[in-house]
Symmetry: C2
């Protein structure tokens, strides 16, 4: 057998090569640091949201280099404190920058449990609890979608879930694609809303479909796909590329963890967003219960999915996924659900709507704030017009100048550490703020602060 580069047999196997007592002590200390510097400060509105450092300054502060020798306990504990100190507090009530904002203690406990278990829910034998839990959580999510039967799997993020949907759609219409590739199929076309998530383009590239074959369909002023435009686009593509086929199903509907659903063959549901269970938790739900998912992705690796096991091997669900080892993302959602019930989850969704409604009123009422469009869901998109630009809406440079305002305000808020929110341009709209409140810890006071702060930071621009 091959020899490693080092000494080999000089290593004694008589004693364990890990010091569990010291390890447990270390974990205890790290946990107290986590609780104080991580959890408590992350949720404390009087703390800063971030402590901005330039990249080189931060590199120097963190001393990231990995060396030959290990470090002592005190040094390591200080490193843990530094990591927390210089990271952005995504659980803070004034962190609005991402859809995964907020910190739920039950879900975090579920994540700690998951990390401690350290197993993959691909077979019942190594993850009996987690396989059954995933089965239950998926069934419950499907039930909320309105399906009494079906299938599904957790995927590493919503983009991957969307790609699974695209792959299953191709396979359902052209089962031979799996073995023969795309070459024997007609050129496929993928029709999506022009406001669809960028994972559709990424998926088209990865799946060998090609981004040119993604046809983006016009939306109305509220961002919804116009059905007549879809019909027109299909006819246009059919005429231009006669060999293109399109299949309307399984259509995938990206949802954000919410109760209003559409008619679809599959749904991507990301409880790591609105339901705040922590990165990552994305369920790919399928209405089909004929085993499509398994037929599409399954390969039956003989070292994992042995058919001669002594238990019901239909519980070895891992082959439904293109992944092999896979994180158990259902546990954190399950424990949160047990803690607050469906009712408690619904209240959070309702609170998110209330917060959006409140902010909408304020934006409409305050001078200098202008809506990009009436919110359709809980996305509130608006511009802040500094006094220097007010009344110049018809001047030729207005929009160009306004497009520079959001980035400038954003820089100021990050340097101050007072809050974080996203901005973006879209289509003909120059940079605007995009506020989505998912964290139930956010109060009216935080929302007032949010608008006051934008006003203050943008006043002199």
């Amino acid at each position: 057998m091959a020899e490693p580069s080092g000494s080999g047999d000089s290593i004694s196997l008589e004693c364990p090569g890990l010091d569990t007592a010291a390890g447990e002590e270390f974990l205890q200390e790290v946990f107290q640091i986590l609780l104080e510097e991580g959890v408590r400060k992350s949720t404390d509105v009087t703390q800063k949201v971030c402590d901005w450092k330039e990249p080189q300054e931060l590199r120097d502060l963190l001393d990231l280099e990995l060396r030959s020798d290990g470090e002592g306990r005190e040094r390591l504990l200080q490193r843990c404190r530094d990591v927390l100190r210089f990271s952005v507090r995504t659980g803070h009530p004034r962190f609005f920058n991402q859809l995964f904002s907020g910190l739920d203690h039950h879900a975090l406990a579920g994540r700690f449990l998951t990390e401690t278990l350290n197993t993959s829910p691909y077979t019942y034998e190594v993850a009996p609890v987690l396989v059954l839990m995933e089965e239950q959580v998926l069934a419950k999510l499907r039930e909320l979608v309105g399906w009494s039967s079906g299938d599904g799997i957790f995927a590493p993020g919503g983009s991957m879930s969307n790609m699974l949907a695209m792959n299953v759609a191709r396979f359902r219409r052209f089962p031979e694609s799996r073995s023969r590739g795309n070459w024997d199929l007609p050129r496929l076309g993928l029709f999506a809303s022009q406001e669809s998530h960028y994972s559709i383009l990424k998926g088209a590239a990865l799946l060998g479909i090609g981004t040119d074959n993604v046809h983006l369909v016009r939306t109305d002023e509220r961002g919804k796909m116009i059905p007549e435009e879809l019909e027109k686009e299909i006819q246009r593509v059919k005429a231009e590329v006669p060999s293109t086929r399109w299949t309307p199903s399984p259509t995938s509907v990206p949802a954000t963890g919410y109760g209003c659903m559409w008619t679809a063959d599959s749904v991507t549901w990301n409880p790591h967003k609105l339901l705040m269970v922590g990165l990552q938790c994305s369920a790919f739900l399928l209405h089909d219960s004929s085993g499509l998912l398994q037929r599409c992705h399954g390969v039956g690796a003989s070292y994992l999915f042995q058919r001669d096991k002594f238990y019901d091997v239909s519980l070895d669900t891992g082959d439904k996924s293109p992944q092999c080892g896979r994180r158990a993302d259902s546990l954190k959602l399950w424990i949160l659900w047990k803690a607050v019930g469906t009712r408690g989850l619904a209240q959070r969704v309702e609170r998110a709507f209330s917060a959006t409604r409140y902010l909408l009123e304020q934006v409409k009422r305050r001078e200098g704030f202008q809506l990009v469009m009436e919110p359709e869901f809980i996305n509130l998109c608006f511009w802040f017009i500094p006094p220097s630009l007010r009344g110049q809406e018809n001047s030729p440079e207005f929009w160009d100048k306004l497009g520079k305002v959001a980035p400038a305000i954003k820089e100021k808020m990050i340097r101050r550490g007072s809050m974080m929110v996203g901005y973006q341009p879209q289509g003909s709209h120059v940079n605007f703020f995009r506020q989505i409140i998912t964290n139930p810890a956010v109060t009216r006071q935080d929302l007032d602060f949010f608008l006051d702060e934008i006003q203050e930071l943008g006043w002199d621009l």
Copy 2:
């Protein structure tokens, strides 16, 4: 704007919708349960590896159903205990069933930190520490591979890393594949070892290449691809399918976290295996430093990767991945590396070799144990031949009967909870045990127990 199904404005925004004090108390209690029932018992050799329950029995015990109302603290804490109790102890010194066996306390602390931070290393603004850490860890892994420059990204598991390698290889040779799909390319062929991981087949299906276009090349008796066979297979495919193109690069070499490397354009390295950092940690490393990865996967979503940010946006590395939100998998490896140093990691690898060597000697020495092949790395594959089958090696039913032995022993060990190890058939070889020791907590005594236990459980078969 749309209304949620519930009451809406009845929800008051005056107070936070989360009770942080109760949440912190809950976390404290869960942590103590984790430490005792999870960490300590998981690493204690006197405990059982698993407490087997039939699926229906386990469903009843766990009461998995998700209901309208939430549950009280005591009930939830009991649920956490139950989850730990009925899960398999993958950190146990006698859990050999998977390559992610073992529990390292430093890495676990890193996982807890990661979960507390709950952010995605796609942009510097929301993950400054984690972006720089990923940069450092990837550079260090590349350095061990032998590359002074290059690129890379963490992916959700080795299978996904392998798929990234396949996609980048296609894109490098045929950049137009990204926009045009596979239709305008010649039929691609993918040549891989017949012992290659099943993710190659899964990837070929997902990427629209097709499993029929994967050509498995014969290996020698040690499981290594035979170069002449590769050449022959290429010639055969070229002759049969004249339009097939093959590109030898970027070749991807799946590694298990170990120092002996090959000439390759890309490497998949899974520190969640031999380096024991916890699921998931898979680095896709690329020798190219021309920005191939970004060009292959990047889409430039305007709500994340704004070009008008005030800092160096080359640090917004998320667009190199087909994922959007992505877990920060580098931190757990970084903290472990800081704790034990490169030297400490190397010692673990050496210990794994020592353990394999010891077990190899024992298997050769013990009656009734028979090697499948000399181990090439740290995979030790062997049969146990029960006394009833000994001396019948030439009888027509011998192999058929032997193939039933490993599953029978496996069932007994799981029901007893004494240990867990994988078995599998491969090619013409009937079911054999596949032992891979990665956990440095494993002692000589555990290895002796391992063989004794197989012998005892298989004696009467």
